[in-house]
């Protein structure tokens, strides 16, 4: 009997053709084609059974009738594939009891359990079936990235390959071992952060490199990624900072104070933390990011718009754990926290820069120049009590007195004159 002809690179997991009648057991009657008590029904077998083929290859199959009724013939038999009748010109009688089929340029399998190729009797009843697996061997997985949450575990993610779908169930296995000793281990918790990911929950060594790789296997072959070498200490991330609070700074209309707590999980591991803050106006999708908030748990945002609701988030990067020289991995952003700046009739500049609390120098250009001026003043004038705190108090006083003046003169935000009014409802 002609067998299927797979493509040149195929490594099929083929089974030898097996007559269905050999599946009989004392307790299980034949699955298909059981002679039903004198009905004269035929049995049949399709060959090859459950072949595996490359996309684009051809298949030659046969349906052979075994009948205990004299005159059993393949005349009138026909094929369906996934429920669709195949054109009669694709099949021909090899002999009186065998119908052959030739399929060319096969497409990838429609379902992972295999395409259903069925041989039917003339009346449409099913005589035999075989499942075709048509696809591609796996590509080499790549782009493995891993991170450890608080040095307790390791999660890795990878990309399966550039080609995309293999049309066959492809099994991915993440393997890891200590670089200089130990046996290969296999990760067991898959799909934790997406379809191509795995989580190793425990028993990880520190201060020693691991080798990590991914093996992909399907019916047509296997592929292995390059090996990634890493020390768990170099890929540490942590939880977002808890207890983020955002509040007004007295009556200052363009500032908000942000405070948070450093993530508790790593507090015993002597690391320096870097933080980032991002904030946006309530009805905007554009975040502004404040970098360089190093190892402090508070910050003041300045240059904000008065009378505006802001959403603020903070994230943490643990670096220098146990003396590691490498930066860690940024945590997720904390849950958004909102606060509003006090209302003003004078619109603010709309920009923002983070200022540390307590009047310490910041990196904003205005305040940098002011710092320089104050420094010059202290040197060349007799103003020993000058400080940023005093400057902020002056600004608050200026804004209050400006508001009072506007109310007295009946000036509205756009500069138009109008009647004085009480506080907004």
């Amino acid at each position: 009997m002609p067998a299927g002809r797979p493509g040149p690179a195929a490594q099929s997991a083929r089974r030898p053709p097996r007559p269905l009648s050999s599946l009989w057991s004392p307790l299980l009657l034949c699955v298909l084609g059981v002679p039903r008590g004198g009905s004269g029904a035929h049995t049949a077998v399709i060959s090859p059974q459950d072949p595996t083929l490359l996309i684009g290859s051809s298949l030659q199959a046969t349906c052979s009738i075994h009948g205990d009724t004299p005159g059993a013939t393949a005349e009138g038999l026909y094929w369906t594939l996934n429920g669709r009748r195949l054109p009669s010109e694709l099949s021909h009688l090899l002999n009186t009891s065998t119908l052959a089929l030739a399929l060319a340029n096969l497409n990838g399998s429609r379902q992972q359990s295999g395409d259903n190729l069925v041989c039917h009797a003339q009346d449409g009843s099913i005589l035999a079936g075989s499942c075709l697996y048509v696809g591609l061997p796996p590509e080499k997985p790549f782009n493995i990235s891993c991170w450890s949450r608080n040095m307790k575990d390791l999660t890795c993610r990878w990309t399966p390959g550039t080609r995309g779908e293999t049309f066959l169930h492809t099994n991915y296995s993440l393997k890891y071992k200590l670089r200089w000793y130990g046996q290969d281990n296999t990760c067991e918790e898959y799909h934790t952060v997406g379809p191509h990911s795995c989580h190793i929950p425990k028993d990880l060594a520190l201060f020693t490199p691991y080798e990590i790789w991914v093996e992909a296997t399907n019916r047509l072959g296997s592929a292995r990624s390059d090996v990634l070498t890493l020390d768990v200490l170099d890929v540490v991330t942590t939880d977002p900072p808890p207890d983020v609070h955002v509040s007004r700074v007295g009556g200052l209309e363009d500032q908000l104070s942000v405070r948070w707590v450093s993530p508790p999980a790593l507090k015993d591991f002597l690391f320096q933390a870097k933080y980032q803050i991002r904030y946006r106006v309530e009805d905007s999708v554009d975040w502004k990011v404040v970098d360089d908030v190093s190892n402090q748990t508070s910050c003041r945002l300045a240059g904000l718009k008065p009378g505006t609701v802001y959403f603020v988030q903070v994230r943490c990067n643990p670096f220098g754990i146990y003396g590691s020289k490498k930066a860690g991995i940024w945590s997720e952003w904390s849950h958004p926290t909102a606060a509003s700046t006090p209302r003003s009739e004078r619109p603010g500049p709309g920009g923002g820069v983070c200022e540390p609390r307590g009047g310490e120098p910041s990196s904003g250009p205005v305040r940098r120049e002011l710092k320089q001026f104050l420094g010059w003043l202290k040197k060349h004038a007799y103003c020993s009590n000058l400080s940023f705190r005093l400057y902020d108090q002056w600004r608050a006083w200026m804004q209050k007195s400006h508001k009072t003046r506007n109310q007295d003169e009946g000036i509205l935000p756009s500069g138009r004159r109008g009647t004085a009014r009480g506080p907004a409802g």
Binding site: L20, L23, S25, L27, L32, V34, D50, S113, G114, N116
Partner: protein, 203 residues
């Protein structure tokens, strides 16, 4: 609950049997469970045929009817049997089904490993069939009827597993379809039989 308040032996009796309140509650509960499982069985069958691919889900798909030793669908003469015998057969079938559903699940884990919903449904179905079977047996015992009649030998499930694994894949798909169909038929039949015991719901 050992005292019999009524009898299942006369299915022709016109008046409903009176039961102790807790037995009545148990019967209602078991009937409700059977009704719920009938719905789940339909969902299982839908999920199953979807994952096997056409022609399994197509109208008119009619693979050869299988005969598993010790378990077939309810016979046409089932309704003519005394109620107690019907419930005994229901319990026996429900006792056999978990092993068969487990065998199907194991095979489907190889054929459809990326279909967690199907695998979960098969696992749930085995557990639910077991629970319903036990509940029916409890009702039978409370009514003073004998425990379940002869069911299939445990070796039948093992043989099914062996044959299932040895069979071609298409044959295994058909076998699984048959088992899922049997599960639906028997929970539906059990629900119908129990409805005749539910006070106030006697047909």
């Amino acid at each position: 609950m050992s005292q019999r308040e009524g009898s299942l032996e006369d299915p022709q009796a016109d008046s409903p049997v009176s039961f102790l309140p807790h037995l009545e509650a148990k019967i209602r509960q078991t009937h409700n469970l059977a009704r719920l499982l009938t719905k789940y069985a339909e969902q299982l069958l839908e999920e199953y045929v979807q994952q096997q691919g056409d022609p399994f889900g197509l109208p008119g798909f009619s693979p050869p009817r299988l005969s598993l030793a010790g378990l077939s669908g309810p016979s046409p003469s089932h309704m003519g049997l005394p109620l107690s015998e019907r419930l005994r057969q229901d319990a026996a079938a429900l006792d056999a089904l978990p092993g068969l559903l487990d065998a199907v699940r194991r095979r489907q884990a190889e054929l459809n490993p990326s279909s967690p919903r199907l695998l979960r449904n098969l696992e749930d179905a085995a557990r639910q069939a077991r629970a319903l079977g036990v509940a029916v047996e409890t009702v039978l015992a409370a009514l003073g009827s004998a425990a379940r009649g002869p069911g299939p030998e445990p070796a039948a499930t093992t043989a099914l597993s062996t044959a299932n694994n040895a069979a071609g894949i298409f044959s295994a798909k058909v076998l699984g379809l048959h088992v899922c169909g049997l599960y639906g038929e028997w929970v539906n039949r059990t629900e119908g039989d129990l409805s005749q015991l539910v006070p106030g719901d006697v047909a």
